[in-house]
């Protein structure tokens, strides 16, 4: 039980560190380190430009998409090397935000299901950050019930014609391509009538509308499809095999989202050490201590659960649904922390003016952001189901829609 690198790991770390030292955009470091729950705010630089530039530099030097094969623009690195890279890249990793969906989900899906020619065509530009990809899965009627999707694809010659609506598509407005799951047969049970495609987001009939969220931001979009044509060659997997294909994507989603969720604990501890309640620093108040201790254990528990997962990775094991813990714990913790931080400030806690609010208004931002964390990429309830079923082996919920033709399932 130790945190030491093996000699190979140490060599990899040294190489990565040297390259980053020599090549990273050091002028952005301070802004990146301060970036919190808002979008990336870089003084005098367009964030998209900065992200693309850093990604391209990494790609050219062989540091992009470490876990991908070299042939497709990656490095063929081991999982533990990917972890080490993340540690060394540090705050510069925040420049990868816009590529996460592509590199973590769309790329692996193409690798598993596209033709060799397609892989060689689409993956390297994706790795280089030249093409940004999105996933078009969720629908308004779907939610947690992803397979309840209604977007229709109908065969017409060599094309498929798409009509319907997707939602919660991150950064769709910046994307060149997307992977899209559709219903091709509503007469069979719902998991059986789905088919997956990838498409050019500039295709005629694709319309993107940003969704304004509670915190005023618009990181997500609705995407409308009106008679959009996709060549059959851009189908991923067989007709009717879409659900199986989507599982490739979702398994990779869990790996991406599950790791390193922030809880807000460090910021809160720091705040409680500085904040004067009138009777000394808040951290001296026993009620504050009791809560801080609980949150400290949750944050520490997530950190070392992550270490154990990395150890399992480096032993060649696949991280399982145990990782669902991360978001479940982090989301609720962040909401609790934000609420209590505001409480400590009394009336002043309501102030969210960035110019004025205490602690750079980060707790107000957390309060307004945390409800989303508890929903996106699997609600708390879905995550508890995953833990109960896949880790503890409890029975699945009773499925009234399992063997029913999709078109016969009741809708709202």
């Amino acid at each position: 039980m130790n945190f030491d690198d093996t000699p190979q790991e140490a060599a990899f770390r040294a190489e990565a560190r040297a390259w980053i030292d020599a090549n990273a955009p050091h002028e952005l470091l301070a802004d990146l380190e301060n970036a919190g729950f808002g979008g990336l705010n870089l003084s005098g630089v367009d964030p998209m430009q900065a992200m693309k530039a850093w990604q391209k530099k990494k790609f050219d030097a062989g540091w992009a998409c470490l876990h991908w094969p070299k042939d497709y623009g990656g490095r063929g690195a081991t999982p533990i090397e990917r972890v080490i890279w993340g540690q060394e890249e540090g705050a510069y990793g925040k420049l990868s935000g816009t590529f996460i969906i592509g590199h973590g989900m769309c790329g692996p899906t193409l690798m598993a299901w596209a033709t060799e020619e397609q892989k060689r065509q689409y993956l390297p530009p994706m790795a280089a950050g030249e093409d940004i990809w999105c996933q078009l899965f969720s629908e308004p009627a779907g939610g947690s019930d992803l397979a309840g999707l209604r977007t229709r694809a109908v065969k017409d010659g060599d094309d498929w014609v798409i009509n319907g609506q997707k939602i919660w598509t991150s950064g769709a407005q910046h994307c060149q391509y997307g992977i899209l799951i559709t219903r091709t047969d509503p007469t069979v049970p719902k998991h059986k009538g789905l088919t997956m495609f990838f498409l050019d987001m500039k295709s005629p009939g694709v319309e993107i509308r940003p969704i304004k969220q509670v915190n005023g931001q618009s990181g997500f979009n609705e995407v409308y499809f009106t008679d959009v044509r996709i060549p059959d060659a851009q189908r991923l997997g067989a007709v009717g095999q879409g659900w199986t294909v989507s599982l490739t994507t979702l398994m990779n989603e869990r790996l991406t989202i599950g790791s390193g969720m922030p809880t807000g604990f460090e910021e809160m501890f720091d705040f409680c050490c500085r904040m004067d309640t009138g009777e000394g620093p808040a951290v001296d108040d026993k009620a504050v201590r009791s809560k801080l201790a609980d949150w400290a254990c949750r944050a520490s528990g997530l950190k070392y659960t992550g270490m154990r997962a990395i150890s399992a990775l480096s032993r060649g094991e696949t991280p399982g649904p145990e990782n669902s813990i991360g978001k479940l714990v982090a989301g609720a913790t962040m909401q609790d922390i934000a609420t209590f931080a505001l409480d400590l400030m009394g009336q002043y806690g309501a102030v969210s003016d960035p110019e004025m609010a205490a602690a750079q208004s980060r707790f107000q931002a957390m309060l307004l952001r945390s409800p989303a964390t508890r929903v996106e990429g699997g609600t708390d309830e879905i995550l508890r189901n995953i833990i109960a079923e896949r880790v503890l082996g409890l029975p699945a919920d009773i499925r009234v829609d399992k063997d029913v033709p999709f078109e016969k399932i009741p809708t709202a």
């Binding site: 308004p140 009620a287 009394g346 409800p371 309830e381 919920d397």
Partner: protein, 371 residues
């Protein structure tokens, strides 16, 4: 024994609910939330005309001269509808303080205007992060002139005058009435977690200030006023909790996933049951507060703190779980869930935070038991 509102009070509730459904729909709340106005002026005027503002103001000062129970009923309905108006500042706090501590001329000058809505008052105590205490207040009055800064001041942009807690020359704290449109006052709007209730930062520089109540008694006047306002605010919170619970319940019945309403899943059912439990305990405790407020019981201190702590907890729970039941849609600007989440978290702070009231509650219980 009858621990329920009377039939007349229930009729008043029906009237208020109907009025607010017509005049404070969520689109009106959003207009303030997204706009530049600090409150809904038309709604405010209407509430004055309906007599709601003056419900607990004596008839001799232009009110209806009803009691606190009627004001509690109105507060609950305002809470349900998230009414974007300065009711708590102008009525629960300013009018109540003037009723309790004002001189004859002060009452005559202000109460009729507060009852009609023609004037708006507010209370200015906070000067920065942390609890408001005798120590925390640095604003000072010297020779009838106030200097200092207050932030945030709820409804401070909407108000015509503020009741300001300040050091009184060499004495301890007193309260002062200050004309916010007068000389030596500079105010600006402050962004908060619930922009549907405008707040301000106010700087005073030798602003004329008129003492309200006895010199040096500012903190005790304030404490008593906060207790009364806590009961009334608890009813707003109870109203908000109920409405958030209803929204969540309705959505759970209507939204289909996996071929069945999501309200048929135990995870959702039990979340809603827990919301109902919290909301019911909060309602019962609010009634306890209303009873103490309306009868002038010695228990008001305990009852107000109980009502406050219970209602804050319930509304925060219902506000956040309502979003959770709605899933992703609950987090969109377009759905109304966030209006309740914002208000729940705002009301948890406006009279001082939950931990402050928990402290008060335990201290008062202990004093009561020792007596």
């Amino acid at each position: 024994m009858n621990f329920e509102f009377s039939d007349e009070q229930q009729q008043l509730r029906d009237t208020a609910r109907r009025y607010l459904a017509d005049h404070s729909p969520s689109v009106a709340v959003r207009a303030v939330l997204e706009g530049e106005q600090p409150y809904d002026t038309a709604l405010w005027k209407g509430l004055g005309e309906m007599g709601f503002l003056g419900a607990a103001i004596p008839e001799e000062f232009g009110g209806l001269g009803l009691g606190y129970l009627e004001l509690c009923v109105i507060a609950e309905e305002l809470g349900r509808s998230l009414a974007p108006v300065p009711m708590s500042s102008s009525i629960y706090l300013a009018a109540e303080l003037i009723k309790a501590a004002g001189s004859g001329p002060q009452k005559t000058a202000w109460l009729p205007k507060l009852a009609s809505g023609e004037a708006i008052g507010c209370l200015a105590t906070s000067e920065g992060p942390g609890r408001v205490s005798e120590k925390s207040i640095q604003a000072r009055v010297t020779g009838d002139r106030l200097s200092g800064a207050k932030v945030p001041v709820l409804d401070g942009m909407a108000a015509d005058f503020a009741i300001v807690a300040a050091r009184d020359g060499d004495r301890s704290l007193s309260l002062f009435i200050v004309d916010l449109n007068g000389p030596g006052v500079a105010r600006q709007a402050v962004g908060t977690i619930d922009p549907a209730r405008g707040q301000a930062s106010i700087a005073f520089d030798n602003a004329p200030a008129e003492r309200l109540g006895a010199a040096g008694e500012g903190f005790s006047l304030l404490t008593e006023a906060l207790d009364r306002a806590a009961v009334l605010t608890a009813f707003e919170q109870v109203g908000g909790s109920d409405k958030a619970l209803e929204m969540a319940r309705d959505y759970a019945l209507q939204r289909i996933a996996f071929g069945r309403p999501i309200g048929s899943f135990q995870a959702i059912k039990h979340m809603l049951a827990d919301m109902y439990v919290a909301a019911t305990l909060a309602r019962s405790n609010a009634y306890y507060g209303a009873w103490a407020l309306s009868t002038g019981a010695a228990e008001l201190g305990v009852a107000a703190a109980t009502a406050r702590v219970s209602a804050t907890k319930a509304f925060q729970l219902c506000g956040k779980n309502n979003i959770q039941v709605h899933g992703g849609m609950g987090f969109t600007w377009a759905f109304d869930c966030h209006l309740f989440y914002r208000r729940a978290n705002l009301l948890a702070l406006t009279l001082g935070g939950q931990s402050e009231w928990e402290d008060k509650l335990v201290e008062r219980l202990r004093r009561r038991n020792a007596a």
